[in-house]
Amino acid sequence: MQLFVGLMVELLIIKIKTMNKKKIITIILGIGIISLFIAYQIYNKPHVNVLDVKSDIIITADKIIDDFSSDETKANRSYLDKIIKVSGTISELKLEKQKGIITLKTNHDFGSVLCHLSDQATQKINLLKVGQTIILKGICTGFLMDVILIKSEIVNKKNLNT
């Protein structure tokens, strides 16, 4: 490996010697600027925008909790880190530290689907009512007592005012 790099450098030096100075400087500067730009872009890679991304899975609240409580490892494999659309009935709405949390009812005694809303969606939480059916889209991070979705967005805007 070292030998190869050494050889490459030597070849480069020979080539550079045959070029004029101005050209060399522009090439080096160019490479430098481009690599800096790429590095900066990678370092500042944006977070996924849930609204823009097509959801991988569309599912009901009952089904997703069934899957997690029957075989968690398998469910983890199919749902973890995926953007999921979940439909269900709202059983609780609350604000915790200015962040909205929607609980979706399931047919299980203990578990439900907990959707932590994004900042944008939190502003619309006042328009929602307990008992209303809703579709939420969020990133599934796993199962504790409940299935947890983060960065959730409200999907069915049509029904928001009813």
Partner: protein, 181 residues
């Protein structure tokens, strides 16, 4: 006779879960900080599940690794994929006994919680110094402690070793409410 017993046991079980002995939060907050001269890294988890049983004086905490949010998406990716391997180990847990639980009252009370913490598939005994406040029907717990990455066999590549602190500072805020079904 057998059926009566089963019925009685069932009844006792239901009675137990309904009485105000279990306190719970589903949206506790755990944050961690890594501070080096080169870079400060912090992440926050707002979906912490924590349960306190006042009869047994035990506390159990469970968190999802993927629920930690970072400022930079790239850091979050590295954290999940390379360091904590959250596909293999999706959860971190803590189970422990609250020492001197009976002292806890309306004022901030210092209490140690001694138990086992499991991160990245590695379990370790730990004593977490915490501050308990019991007001009305809530039990509020907060605290701060340090964790060493090497204790949990979390390997950091040599290239970035200077950017990540060896000891990670962890803070938590858990606001438990009586658990009702």
């Amino acid at each position: 006779m057998k059926t009566t017993y089963t019925f009685l046991i069932c009844f006792l079980f239901i009675y137990n879960t309904n009485s105000q002995e279990q306190y719970l939060t589903k949206n506790g907050v755990i944050k961690f900080f890594s501070s080096t001269p080169i870079e400060d890294i912090k992440a926050e988890n707002n979906q912490v599940l924590s349960i306190i049983d006042t009869s047994t004086k035990k506390m159990a905490i469970s968190i999802l690794i993927k629920s930690f949010l970072f400022e930079k998406a790239l850091m979050q990716e590295h954290f999940n994929e390379n360091y904590l391997e959250s596909d293999k180990f999706p959860k971190a847990t803590f189970k422990g006994d609250i020492l001197n639980f009976n002292k806890i009252g309306g004022l901030e009370t210092k209490c140690d919680v001694k138990g086992i913490i499991t991160i990245h598939g590695v379990s370790k005994e730990i004593v977490i110094p915490s501050i308990f406040t019991r007001i009305g029907n809530t039990i509020f717990v907060k605290g701060e402690f340090g964790l060493f990455l090497e204790d949990f066999s979390i390997k950091i590549p040599r290239l970035v070793v200077k950017k990540i602190a060896k000891e990670i500072k962890v803070t938590f805020e858990l606001n438990h409410k009586p658990y009702k079904k």
